[in-house]
Subunit: 336 residues, 2 copies
Amino acid sequence: MAGDRILLGHGSGGVLSHDLIASLFLKHFDDPVLAQADDSAVLPGDPGRLAFTTDSYVIDPIFFPGGDIGSLAVNGTVNDLSMVGAGPVAITLGLILEEGLPMDDLHRILASVKRSSEEAGVMVVGGDTKVVEHGSADKIFINTAGVGLLAEGLKISSANAKAGDVVILSGSIGDHGIAVVSMREGIDFETDIVSDTAPLNGLVASMLEVTPDIHVMRDPTRGGLATSLNEIAQKSGVGVVIQEAAIPVKPQVTQACDMLGFDPFYLANEGKLVAFVPESEAAAVLDAMRGSTYGRDAAIIGRVVEENPGMVILDTAVGGRRILSALSGELLPRIC
Amino acid sequence: MAGDRILLGHGSGGVLSHDLIASLFLKHFDDPVLAQADDSAVLPGDPGRLAFTTDSYVIDPIFFPGGDIGSLAVNGTVNDLSMVGAGPVAITLGLILEEGLPMDDLHRILASVKRSSEEAGVMVVGGDTKVVEHGSADKIFINTAGVGLLAEGLKISSANAKAGDVVILSGSIGDHGIAVVSMREGIDFETDIVSDTAPLNGLVASMLEVTPDIHVMRDPTRGGLATSLNEIAQKSGVGVVIQEAAIPVKPQVTQACDMLGFDPFYLANEGKLVAFVPESEAAAVLDAMRGSTYGRDAAIIGRVVEENPGMVILDTAVGGRRILSALSGELLPRIC
């Protein structure tokens, strides 16, 4: 990385983030568990198989249509555990507060954390609070770490996609990104768009009841679906072909994207997952997803191929074909 | 709590912090694991006994004599796990970076994280990076969460002090607080004072080799030794009598405290612990501590009594006797 200063793009979840992680975390820490770079760390050895993950939340604004920084922080960490197939057990909460933050806001956020943790069925088992001077942070930042337990026999990883796999998306994309940006910019769309922030552990449990043989699961947050698919293609050394017409996008999101110049493929989602499953299991997994609250609009969106390893190819709605690249630079700072 | 805005004192580790935790965390989350409010959460049930903790670090300046925010973040979480008797296994690293942070600083900090995690023998198994706009955070904040494993039969808790227990302190107090404040204020003392930041898991292991029957361990960080002792007295419902003359304080720290108007009892320590052990085990535990790198200057400093439950009484060096209260308000913002 050429630059000697942190840029906003380093937090984007796209190419700069990837470079930063490669040049920092993987440079300093060559532990094989970390190098897996999945959403949760799965600790080797006893006791059984424990998953352990962390995420910090710096979203602006802290309250937005459909959620707030508290629900986002719980759901995000629950989802990171779920994406390796772990059942979330417990989370911790690390708060960094700006001097002057209204106490009412803090109570409202913690009540939201409580509701979300109850919905997900995780315990909040530890907390820490730091306060910095007015102007040294922006209102509130939340870190949630989480531990979960993995059943035996699961091997879900971004590096595990195989030619022939069917790619399933759990629902519409772009809702969170548009909900936040519309609030931030003070834009009123005809129909309200709300964030999709939600815990996905129930959805994942319903999928794993069908089969333990799920190859990959990812929640396409920062960087959007395009970036997640590219990471999977690269780590698995396969090609991924996506049918644009099969991707669920709400009309209001399409309309907002047209107006604001965004591409829904790069917008953050906070309650969606993409799964890669063997063709023999795809129909049953899709059925199970559609029967689960947060998978009602699940759809098969593509296929894994041997050609073009490391690349994502989009069959466009108008009959063309193009490369769908990972996010480059920063699209929307502080989206989560 | 009357105030409706966050004050710096809410991050002090003293009375306001305690109130904030009581009115926020314990209000919103009534889980019995969280309510224990020890340094680490010990998760009930399988697998075996897992400890899980989190801490955020917002120290200013990020580099200081004897350490930096990276070593502090690793050691602090290692020590939180150690204080319940858990052997630290793995930590995660959540970074919040200010746009414009020099990349060299970040590399230096991560190299320090690596050295510290190697010394403590913990894996760094996960990370997350967020970046906020210049002016929305101050350089870098780090959250470290940690998991550890507890041997069977340990029941170390701040609520477990018993009348007759001997109070042992692992070494001198006030070093971290004075090292940071002298750097912050640009004060040069005759002899350099460096932070005591250090991992205490080796020291704790040497103590547990002597006996599993340790009643309480705490690392007196924010709020200092006085605040930790008060919390133990209150949670255990016992009185604690401390001999001021027995407390190790470095001459340079005493000198700096005199000059700056600080009391070493309230200064943060980042590599010290206080242990409450049955009298029958005290001599052997003290011996073991003195044989360990970070316990060389360990000393017996007091005793648990039935009188004055919830209070800490100081037998002063000049022959008087006074109540040693918990820290009230904010002493030094952003000391860790």
